[in-house]
Symmetry: C2
């Protein structure tokens, strides 16, 4: 019952099996080069004693931890307001678990926390980090880079975009070899807008996301790509800045209706924004999709399926993004194990863009 007293050590197992510690260690770690009968005896002892290796001792010598940090930086309170991160976390967790790695969650609550996170990462507690860099001006990427921890970003990091830089610290030079996973925001947006155009809509508007996030910028770019192709379609008044929230969607839609009462299609930066827009549209007496067609982005089932009418939207596989991030990091880590002097180099370098699909429902 309460044998929690003190867990058995390698020594104990060795004694019981009548072998040396080294042999037990070998068996426990894959058992290469140990004759079967001996190995069996060791396994026996391990089972009987309920031996579990002490990670601290192991890490001390191997300098590995089989642990990965997941950093979610979000000043705003609404971080988890949508299931987005939760889904990514699931994906990450699955992949990590499959490779016997632990997930250490680091939530940041504003600037002060950045130092803490940087210190933790620099402290070498984990083998690598998965970072969700949400805002263009976030200093975190720079700090993490300085910490020298192999990292994979979730979503294209914002710096280097247009001359913008996270900060001016000399040491935070952003190397080009950044690894990140993102979905094809621009392509998805293009598909959505093109669909709207193909529907014969001539006044296609866009309610943007928070433009300090690359996903919002990329979706806006995708919208512009298509609008530029259609003669006479572009009209700056058709673009209203919003913030990825339902409330923001309402405000933006109201604004849009004021500016362009003749709008006949709306591409919202995400489903939540579309939700808000839908409400305002309904309140204004417009029918969807007859009078105004609406398309969202993300395909968050609980939202998209439940709107009235059900939302046509651009689907991205969020859980898969998480899984992929973890896979890339782990792969890089495995590669780095062949300590090529400059060990711990980043995973693979480059971005991986996952495809998106247009899901047609009733709203467009």
């Amino acid at each position: 019952m309460t044998e929690a007293a003190s867990r058995p050590t390698l020594e104990a197992v060795a004694a019981r099996a009548g072998v040396s510690r080294a042999t037990v260690s070998r068996v426990v770690n894959g058992g290469d080069g140990v004759r079967e009968p001996v190995a069996e005896r060791v396994r026996q002892a391990v089972a009987e004693l309920g031996y579990v290796p002490n990670q601290a001792a192991r890490s001390l010598v191997t300098r590995r931890h089989d642990a990965v940090a997941v950093v979610i930086a979000e000043p705003e309170t609404r971080v988890f307001a949508d299931p987005f991160f939760a889904l990514q976390l699931r994906g990450i967790s699955k992949e990590l678990t499959a490779h016997d790695n632990q997930l250490v969650l680091l939530l940041t609550e504003g600037r002060d926390d950045h130092a803490r996170v940087a210190r933790y990462l620099a402290g070498g507690h984990v083998d690598g980090a998965l970072v969700f860099s949400l805002h263009l001006d976030d200093p975190l990427p720079g700090l993490i880079h300085d910490a020298g921890v192999p990292t994979v970003f979730g979503g294209r990091p914002g710096w280097g975009d247009d001359g913008r830089t996270a900060d001016a610290t000399p040491s935070s030079g952003h190397d080009p070899g950044v690894v990140y996973v993102d979905c094809d925001n621009r392509g998805g947006a293009r598909a959505a807008v093109r669909h709207l155009v193909d529907l014969g809509r001539t006044r296609v508007a866009h309610l943007t996301g928070a433009l300090d996030q690359t996903s919002a910028v990329d979706r806006l770019d995708g919208y512009r790509d298509v609008m530029a192709e259609v003669p006479g379609a572009s009209d700056p008044r058709l673009v209203v800045e919003s913030d990825f929230t339902p409330g923001g969607g309402e405000r933006a839609m109201r604004e849009l209706l004021g500016r362009c009462p003749d709008v006949d299609a709306v591409f919202a930066a995400n489903d939540l924004t579309a939700l808000g827009a839908l409400r305002v549209l309904r309140a204004s007496g417009r029918r969807v999709p007859e009078d105004v067609a609406v398309i969202g982005f993300d395909d968050m089932l609980p939202v998209a399926m439940e709107t009235d009418p059900p939302l046509t939207t651009v689907r991205q596989d969020i859980e898969e993004m998480g899984r992929l991030m973890a896979r890339l990091l782990l792969r890089g880590l495995a590669g780095g194990r062949d300590r090529t002097a400059a060990a711990e180099q980043p995973p693979a370098a480059g971005g991986v863009i996952l495809p998106t699909t247009l899901i047609r429902r009733a709203s467009a």
Copy 2:
């Protein structure tokens, strides 16, 4: 730049400051009993070398990790469908961070994972665990108990309720000294139903949550408490089993309307269920609250505020629950440090119930 080569050790700092390792250790850990000038010199050296203590080495000797596991067991995919866990996590993270503890997230994906989690916990990687035990028949609580790790549960564990037991393994005897944090589900439900009764409603129905979770059972009990007090109010047909989801709410509401077309008030087990009910009610041509008053539970802002009409609901402070769980665990851990032979005893023993408040909006 790339000084990631190999981090400086205590030894290095000691050499640089011209003192012994022990002294550096003292300064790094609070610096008691070190003369100021010396301490200053050490801090200097630490800063110059960018020294960060090696946790593995420290844990090896202190047998502490300053890390806590958060176990979220959820077979269903919809774990994160609602912001519930996310909020608790935030609360936990904040409290843990304030006490310099790390959060190791363990997500389980079905029965196979239980063994993994149990092994991890038993492996002594963390100082304690915060466990969300969602289902009455979950074997996890038993396994965790066996692992002998100080634990605080989120939500009242289901076993011991009514003779039900998690499993029959002899070693999984559920000690009564379980520590958990929950909100006053029963009291909150009572307040809601009483409010409905006070409004003059005579046919008050209840759409339950998933009854394999104690929160759902407790809310049902609260409903019954009040109904039993009102002569002639009880009617078994007024209770329809549902599952905490919008879809379930819809189904249940339809069922209810079929059974009791004269229903004039509905207490839904949570906001999501209420959301579904609202939709069916509207579709059936009933006005809310004129014809049927509706009350939810949770006060998930993104849901409750956005329904039509805005939802009257029972609020619980989810983030605070998380924070409290962490605080209780940490306190217990601190207490256990005075190794009273049977060290590592559970935190405080007993449940802490957080209050709920009825938030009146337009739906009732």
